[in-house]
Symmetry: C2
Subunit: 557 residues, 2 copies
């Protein structure tokens, strides 16, 4: 039920809090109460103020030294949380002491409930990467409310290994945590077929065999990749801001105004960079959501052409050399109030053949909440992470987005790069994705009936950058023989704007008496790029770009 740009609100909250308490931060907890909050910010008509408060809290946690009591106040609901044990044999620390430990040199401390932890040696192993440092010297509780993947005994057991003490009971912020509302309370309902890789934020994919039943993926089973809580936006109040750096007077469009632009449709596959991560993870553990092979989907997206909107905002052809990137900012924000953000190279957004759409429809229906309602950007041929949902702002710029997701995530590295030597500045942000394919039917480890000495495999193949799939090879004898698959759904002659996946099927001969077999698939695209054979040599610490040959094992009957 966000009906304004959350960032604006958070900024205003923080500015107000800062001006009031900058010299007396410890008094925050006494002052920021539900009533005061409502009085001060009632103009925003925020029905679910909790999320805004949580966001503000994140900001404050970086602004003030002692802020444990600041923000959750009595505005939040009770929630059951795992309980960590008391360890009376360990020393007691105050929040003041904890807050001094925020760098490697001073050691990095955090608290959870009444526990104090030195996580310095864990930072490099944190599946969420550097984001853990947002809690340095502070409580992880509010972050874990946002990233509820932490709320299980496995994670708590890991955390306990780093336990060094107990929080001074005077500083215990137990109530705060208990009282914090769930920022995910207003998420949309989802189709039960979606198998979550994480519930909060919601990330889920359909079973592979369901996915490849149709060329256009039904909205309900389209994979969902949310980095943060889904913002709840009233379309009547929605605005999209267009900024061209160095020009005064940004263009602001309402949803209705955006819909006045000529309506364009593009059918495009959107895929997560982490699709098939679970396969790479088996070779050697990686960090990230444990995606199967269904973190992608193909849909017809309808909306305004980004190119035409930028023209309207005053971007002219002869100025293009001044800029290099188009940044997108979203309405979903992290605990610091920073919006989700990403950018694409400018040529992609201004090229007629780029087909970048500011979409408000998906497969002919209003864009669903989980897919960016009311407006998301569709960047065909480019990794899902740049297809920013809940689009708030477009910035034509000389620089890339500085967001975490553009700078410190969604990049590829050498197999020999680990968390000790990784330098994110050395790799480019992922844009176009490499060629890939997967067998979706039969499913891995299933039992298949052999008919007439044959079984049929089905799956998808896709390549980024508008490349067309030109061949899919399937083998059931370890690569000795390759069978060329038939294309069941394939758009031809669209290269270099071949944005949709190809759905294929292939009849495979089964030698008599065979009880089980491995099936392998690889695809070739129109630049004759093909897939690497195995994950060993493309392994990367974040587990992205998992495009090695897809292999499944089936039992035969």
């Amino acid at each position: 039920m966000f009906n304004r740009n959350l960032r604006k609100l958070v900024r205003e909250i923080n500015s107000w809090i800062s001006s009031k308490f900058v010299n007396e931060p410890t008094r925050c907890s006494e002052i920021i109460t539900k009533d005061i909050y409502n009085r001060k910010f009632s103009k925003y008509k925020i029905q679910n103020k909790i999320t805004a408060l949580a966001a503000a809290a994140g900001y404050l946690s970086l602004t003030f030294q002692d802020k444990r009591h600041v923000i959750y106040a009595d505005t939040v609901q009770q929630q059951d949380l795992p309980k960590i044990p008391l360890k009376p044999e360990l020393p007691i620390y105050t929040t003041d002491e904890v807050s001094k430990h925020i760098t490697k040199d001073t050691r990095i401390w955090v608290t959870f409930q009444h526990g104090v932890y030195d996580i310095t040696d864990f930072v490099h192993e944190h599946p969420g990467g550097d984001q853990i440092l947002m809690a340095a010297g502070n409580a992880v509780d509010p972050f874990w409310m946002l990233y509820s993947i932490h709320l299980n005994s496995h994670v708590l057991n890991i955390l306990e290994r780093y336990r060094i003490g107990n929080l001074d009971p005077k500083d215990d912020h137990k109530d705060v945590v208990r009282d914090m509302s769930d920022p995910f309370a207003n998420e949309p309902s989802r189709h039960p077929i979606l198998k979550p890789a994480s519930k909060k934020p919601f990330n889920a994919e359909a079973p592979e065999n369901i996915l490849v039943q149709s060329f256009l993926t039904p909205n309900e089973i389209f994979y969902v990749r949310n980095h943060l809580p889904v913002p709840d936006i009233d379309p009547k109040d929605y605005t999209l801001e267009i900024e061209i750096e160095g020009k005064s007077g940004n263009l602001t469009l309402s949803l209705e105004e955006l819909k006045q632009f000529p309506k364009h449709s593009v059918t495009a596959t959107v895929m997560c960079a982490g699709n098939r991560r679970s396969e790479m993870h088996k070779v050697k553990p990686v960090k990230g959501l444990n995606w199967g092979a269904a973190a992608l989907g193909n849909a017809t997206w309808t909306g305004a052409s980004l190119r035409e909107v930028l023209e309207k905002a005053g971007l002219s052809e002869h100025e293009l050399d001044k800029y290099e990137h188009i940044q997108f900012e979203a309405y979903d924000t992290d605990t610091t109030g920073s919006p989700y953000g990403a950018s694409i190279p400018i040529w992609k957004g201004v090229d007629k053949r780029g087909d970048v759409i500011l979409a408000y429809e998906m497969n002919g229906e209003t864009l669903p909440k989980d897919h960016g309602f009311p407006v998301r950007v569709i960047v065909p041929g480019v990794v899902g992470a740049r297809n920013v949902k809940w689009l708030a702002k477009v910035i034509v710029s000389s620089t890339e987005s500085q967001s975490h997701w553009q700078q410190k995530d969604y990049k590829g590295f050498s197999p020999s790069t680990d968390w000790n030597n990784v330098d994110y500045s050395k790799s480019p942000s992922i844009q176009e994705l490499p060629v890939t394919s997967a067998i979706c039917q039969p499913m891995n480890n299933s039992t298949v009936e052999v008919k007439g000495g044959k079984i049929t495999a089905k799956g998808y193949a896709w390549s980024g950058g508008g490349q067309e799939i030109v061949r899919v090879d399937v083998s059931c004898d370890g690569g000795k023989t390759w069978h060329v698959a038939e294309f069941d759904y394939h758009e031809s002659k669209k290269y270099p704007r071949h944005w949709s996946w190809t759905l294929w099927s292939c009849e495979l001969p089964v030698p008599k008496g065979t009880e089980n077999m491995e099936i392998i698939v690889k695809a070739v695209d129109s630049s004759y790029n093909t897939q690497p054979e195995s994950f060993e040599n493309i392994w990367n610490l974040r587990g992205v770009l998992n495009n090695a040959y897809h292999k499944i094992y089936v039992n035969l009957k």
Copy 2:
């Protein structure tokens, strides 16, 4: 010494011959003599009429049934040829009889000197592919004069296996062949460092370690890939014709007129589709020139923009949907008089970011004869075969070039496709090339001195389609550890117009006591496509697209 469009001439010759002899082809040999020829065609001022005659002969050989005596007449010089043995024990056939055997059903017969051969069972093994069928029912002699790779005892031995008879002495065309001039007599001189893969037509590459000494490859050591004899064109008489299908009035430009267009330069790597074929050949034999890893080069090409020339010819933006391809025809022609030809998708030629150039300079010098003097097309990011040299004609068309090289060559297939089941219509013509890399220094099987426990490897990496090389990984322990190479020469921030190769170097640690090692390289491009690990799974019958990991073996001292 062609000083006119050879095709025009051949067409006129053939039209004249047809009108005169269509009902009495056997009289051709009595009539087409040097004198008559000179009288009829003197207006063309052809100094080396031999090639034109040979071309006309090829045409005739497809037009008339009995044509052995038609064309070589007394215009040609003597030449030493291998002699095949007489086999009096075999039957005698007339040229009439031979000419009836032109399909699999009737068996495919050819003659060479006075031998008659049934080559039906050899067609699929012919290294030159289907081209052998141009000689069906006819003499291979004139073709072998053009493709002199045949003129050795190894090939003659193979041919003799298929011997079924002797040519009727009355029809023996020995004199014709003996008298045929060498169409390669006027080839330019070449730098002795170029190692020929074939001499006629000339195909050669430099040693790899020389190649990677400079970012811009010197013209003299730039690989040469000629499909036919180099035409000898007088720049004063050169014309380039531009046809837009469905429009009357082609645009014809002289070299001077072409030079009046704004001058554009583009630095681009041009690579043969068969580069590194010798490595694939080791896995399982393939057909084609046995290229090493140096069938590529990087140069600055200067000329007119194809886009601007097409605009001048009347092609307007709103008409583009009517066309799909831009065809290129060359001044070099095969024995049938057909020009070398190729085509590219129209978007590549009309896109500002396509950077397609009608080049008349190479690295600041006049385009050398071997590289297309006076004008060739440079299609950055696209396989060498479409970078047509000695450019005669550009055709904006709804169809692809129908040339042999576009339709029956330069295509990729599954490893399980062989000469018995290949269907060329099933694969797209190669355009953009996939990502590749090679170690050029040290050379394979060389001995390297270890200094300070290390050796240094150097090489190139490149990807088609304007993709930038973003990482080069080198391993000397079989892929257990990957060292990220430094870029010695690399153009950055040019994506998606990153046409030049990247030259890299990498220090490799050598464990004490190591006597020899294998070094492996793989590259990653800006779409994060990477190379396939081995040749087994990308093997294809023509031996193109050889982009598996490059491996070399070195001895250490």
